[in-house]
């Protein structure tokens, strides 16, 4: 297994740690962006960006089901935007444990990050990436 974009994702090596995304925070204006950038896209200063861990949790901003797919993906599949707790609004996918059905996701719901293969296809099964699932899934609460 290879990580799709290793610079974007920190997979823990020690027990008890959880995976997270890696972004940048501007020391001058406080903006947080994902993925990492060396220059703040808002105040445009150079070398003010520091690496930050982010994206362990977020709120579902929007979601849809795609009924067509490029090679390497299988339709239907969820496509989502998530508002990360730290600020950025990012595109992501949904963990395979969620059935791809209307009503499984609801905008505004709390989400948490998981790491799994991009897709269960010959092209993408060996690539790991970040996805999101409803925060209460797999924690003993009703999904």
């Amino acid at each position: 297994m290879k990580v799709l974009n290793p610079a974007n994702l920190r997979i823990p090596t020690e027990r008890g740690q959880t995976p997270c995304l890696l972004g940048s925070r501007c020391r001058e204006c406080g903006n947080v962006v994902f993925p990492k950038m060396p220059v703040c896209p808002d105040c445009h200063r150079n070398a003010t960006m520091e690496e930050v861990e982010l994206g362990r949790t977020g709120k579902l901003y929007s979601h849809t089901i795609a009924h067509v797919a490029p090679n390497g993906f299988v339709a239907p599949y969820f496509q989502i935007f998530v508002d990360l707790a730290e600020g950025p609004r990012i595109f992501s996918l949904v963990g395979a444990e969620c059935p791809v059905e209307v009503g499984v996701l609801e905008d505004g719901m709390e989400m948490r990050l998981i790491v799994e293969q991009v897709a269960d296809t010959p092209e993408r099964k060996d690539q790991l990436t970040y996805k999101y699932i409803p925060a209460d899934r797999g924690n003993g609460s009703p999904a």
């Binding site: 799709l4 849809t64 009924h67 067509v68």
Partner: protein, 393 residues
């Protein structure tokens, strides 16, 4: 800056041409434009060739412009290759315009060409995904999705906010399919009804198949020169480029209050042309997905937020209306060969302004027109490219 005229335009029909290569698609468009302008290849000083997907889909990664133009007999001059996603051809036109406006060239050629039908639609969808930043494309973000739920447009949210329905989403496609039915160059020439559009299969919820532009091959070209030279050449057309604005997207934080980039680019074009949205007589705009037309009405300053469907209900933007939009049929009916679209829009507006649009001719002839174009996706919630060109006759 010198004033610049478009003195010739040409287009290849838009559709599915599996056996034709990029250069074969471009050749008739280029020669129609040259003949229309009354110039020969040796009079062209410089050329810009727009194309987006040719590297991935045909394998011709480099020098596509030189390959395409040599086939049409245009060699030995500066040829600039332009890739700017769905705004590639618009960007090529801007290059040609600047060459003439600056005085560097007297006659310049802009070409846009795209070949999307390669017998494998999943490969084409994959290539389209790659006009997004790779971090997005790698994750399987599709362009259709970007219209359905992307923060910059988010049609699902508009349904909540404005009470828009799927029938509202279908209205631009109904209007544009009628226009397309009158356009011999259009890819889809069948008039559609709201019912069949809403009931066609869902591609990416809430977008159905007939709300989406389809995979398309095509080409378009324009010859531009200085207004002085146009007079000396006795060109039949005196369509002037009043402004040609190209912008890139900005990194947006959620709800940061920055104005929309389609708005800022269009209003920059209005200002440079010394007009406002009320002065426009016709518009070709970027309806890659039909309901995007409703959002663009707002963003181009044509109506208040949420009022888009009314412009169609009240027959303002229909072919017989006060401000016809997408008389060609737009991207959904005329077709959207992505790297040619920007110049296909220009061709349509020039034909309309000259009174050469046949059965779909707008009456009275439009004198001030806008071509609005955009493309690509960046991380940070914006399209990569926005274009707005204003023509005056």
């Amino acid at each position: 800056m010198r004033e610049v005229a478009i003195i010739g335009v040409g287009a290849h029909p838009t559709g599915r041409f599996l056996d034709k290569s990029l250069k074969e698609l471009a050749y008739p468009a280029i020669w129609d434009a040259l003949n229309d302008a009354g110039v020969t290849p040796v009079e062209i000083n410089v050329a810009y060739v727009g194309n987006s997907l040719g590297g991935l889909l045909t394998g011709q990664e480099g020098v596509r412009g030189q390959v395409v133009l040599q086939h049409s007999g245009i060699t030995g001059i500066p040829i600039v290759n332009v890739e700017n996603a769905c705004a590639s051809a618009m960007t090529a036109l801007r290059g040609a315009w600047l060459e003439v406006a600056s005085g560097a060239a007297d006659v310049a050629l802009a070409v846009g060409v795209e070949k999307m039908n390669v017998g494998d639609s999943a490969r084409t969808i994959g290539a389209l995904s790659a006009v997004s930043e790779l971090d997005l494309a790698d994750m399987g973000l599709q362009f259709t999705t970007s219209y359905a739920i992307h923060p910059k447009i988010n049609l699902k949210a508009r349904m909540q906010e404005y009470g828009w329905t799927r029938a509202d989403f279908a209205k631009p496609a109904v209007k544009n399919s009628y226009n397309g039915s009158l356009n011999p160059l259009a890819q889809h020439r069948r008039k559609l009804t709201i019912e069949e559009i809403v009931q066609s299969r869902i591609v990416v919820d809430p977008l159905t198949l007939l709300m989406c532009s389809s995979i398309s091959d095509g080409a378009a070209a324009a010859v531009v020169c200085s207004m002085d030279l146009a007079a000396r050449l006795g060109s039949k057309s005196k369509v002037r480029i009043a402004s040609c604005v190209l912008q890139s997207g900005v990194y947006r934080l959620p709800d940061d209050g920055r104005p929309d980039s389609a708005t800022t680019s269009a209003f920059a074009a209005y200002e440079k042309a010394g007009i406002g949205p009320n002065d426009l007589d016709a518009i070709e705009l970027h309806d890659a997905m039909a309901p995007a037309e409703l959002m663009l009405y707002e963003r181009l300053g044509l109506c208040a937020p949420g009022d888009g469907p009314k412009l169609i209900d009240d027959r303002i933007t229909t072919l017989d209306g006060r401000l016809p939009v997408n008389p060609s049929g737009g991207l959904c009916s005329r077709g959207h060969p992505v790297g040619a679209t920007g110049l296909l829009q220009i061709c349509e507006l020039v034909w309309q302004m000259r009174g050469e649009a046949g059965a779909r001719q707008i009456e009275p002839r439009p004198k001030v027109t806008l071509a609005q174009n955009q493309g690509g996706l960046l991380l940070g919630q914006d399209s990569a490219v926005y274009g707005a060109t204003i023509l005056k006759s």
